[in-house]
Symmetry: D2
Subunit: 97 residues, 4 copies
């Protein structure tokens, strides 16, 4: 029996799985850069390119979760009665993004 | 008499005024850079700093409108019945932001 | 007769012209958004899209000047003897970019 | 015996060590997010905040390497005779950053 007073907003099963999958790949990519950095002849720009690729991959994780949050929680905030908090915490994330 | 079938989502009066005020200041700032660029001795980095300041100001305009949109339209989308469109068009904006 | 002690680093004629051309177009775009904002029925997302387009255009101005600065001043800084200042001021710009 | 024809541009020992240290910490942070994501009650915004923190940390790695590259290779490119390549490859990195 659901208790609406304590209903919890949670990341959907599907987005959680996709975020995990992407972050596992990001961890592998970070480990690849760590291995590159063991080579004392490594060239700066080659590292910068890899760091940039990880950054792009991280942005995709963020987009997956953001879309999921919008769809599952933000669009229904008025009905739930927590619109102000939802907007404030989302703007904290998006402000400097 | 409001006709809910045709209710239009519009930027609130207050945010519209704030966005205008900020964009007028941005226009002035752009004109200032245009004057800088008439000086043939101008130094690259001085221009880069000004362009960066305009970029920050533009980001603030965007944040004003985004917060307004979240508060006035996104959080109530489920009630209105247009949640899918609202999420899709917002993600288009935020994806590469 | 050039006096190397007082040689000034300046934005090249060509890049100055391109930056001006692009900023004139940006000013026009900002004025277009100001006109949009006079319409009390304007939709938030339509304004966000225009602000984003201006942001992209501003980024291009910045890239024109940055490339010019790299080519004309940064790559020759060791010869000129001002490498430390050149790196410090450039990192100030690029750090949060 | 150094062979100037084959001199290699490499990331400095010190920056390589700092990049490694920071990336090890980033790997730990990514693993922390992976553990968060095992919790089926995890809240979207809590994950978004962590992803954003990793993004900031990655930006710092990038800045360490970028500063090192500017100082050790870019400012001396005219002397070395590879200024065009140095500028082109750097702009590829910075263009969308």
């Amino acid at each position: 029996m659901a208790d609406p007073c304590c209903e919890q907003l949670r990341l959907s099963e599907q987005s959680r799985a996709e975020a995990r999958r992407r972050l596992l790949s990001i961890r592998g990519h970070v480990e690849g850069i760590l291995r590159m950095l063991e080579n004392e002849d490594i060239y700066c720009v080659d590292v910068l390119r890899q760091v940039k690729a990880v950054d792009g991959a991280l942005r995709k994780v963020s987009n997956v979760i953001l879309r999921s949050h919008l769809k599952d929680h933000v669009v229904s905030a008025t009905q739930r009665g927590d619109a102000d908090e939802i907007v404030d915490e989302l703007m904290e994330i998006l402000k400097y993004r």
